[in-house]
């Protein structure tokens, strides 16, 4: 059960971030940092199925995390976070079409290992 929840958290978290990135890219860049630009962004998000789908996936991840925390310690949630970093980088390359080369793979791997080490 614990590992099933870890898998659900990792997959839904990854899916949420990838959908949000795809949706935000399609919606267009937030050009400046004025509150007005953010208001326009929120208005567009409400009609953006990709980002709304991303929110739904992140909500699944959040509630799975709550369930996991209720049956095990926080340290059990760490592998899910670490896996997400690698899985998201993989999907960023193959689904979002980002130029992921050695440097970014190294960055994602170092962060994933670092997150695990930090939980000790």
């Amino acid at each position: 059960m614990k590992w099933l929840l870890v898998a659900i958290i990792a997959v839904s978290n990854t899916l949420g971030d990838v959908l949000n990135t795809a949706g935000m890219k399609r919606q267009g860049e937030v050009e400046d940092l004025r509150p007005r630009s953010f208001a326009v962004m929120v208005k567009r998000i409400l009609r953006n199925p990709l980002v709304l789908g991303g929110f739904a996936a992140l909500a699944v991840s959040f509630f799975a995390l709550l369930s996991l925390l209720s049956i095990s310690s926080v340290s059990f949630a760490v592998p899910a976070t670490a896996i997400s970093y690698l899985l998201e980088t993989l999907l960023a390359k193959y689904i979002l079409g980002e130029d992921v080369r050695l440097r970014r793979w190294a960055a994602a791997t170092l962060v994933a290992i670092g997150v695990v080490m930090l939980s000790f």
Partner: protein, 150 residues
Amino acid sequence: MQALSLKPAVGMKFRQGHARKTQILVLVVIITNVLGNVSLSHGMHQVGRIVSASPLDYLRAFANPWTALGICVLVVWILSDLALLSRADLSFVLPVTASAYVLVAIGGHFILHDHISWERWTGIAFITLGAILAEETPDRTTKRPAERAP
């Protein structure tokens, strides 16, 4: 999209200004993530453990000023994170914003005098190195929708 309406002569300046705004957003995302979570966690510790499934108990938690502040700051975090994802690659944003873990650990050490074991120091070093490596790559490698059109 605005990039296309600018003359090529100012393209370089636009890129520098663009990168600067993305860097500011990265900082906002990291800082609001740390402050929001610390504030929320502080508030929830004051509220105590919620074991009931009643929404009323959760609403009561929101009445705590630290919890309320934490939620407001996390809303800013979500919005700035989405704005950042509209401008930069996911594979760039993830390692760079992971610096938030480092800030929480270092902040806990110097403010709350948390002990940091050698494993945790190694973790801090790894994440920092990962963030620096990603920061050295271009923030966006995919084309903007307007550029994709033939």
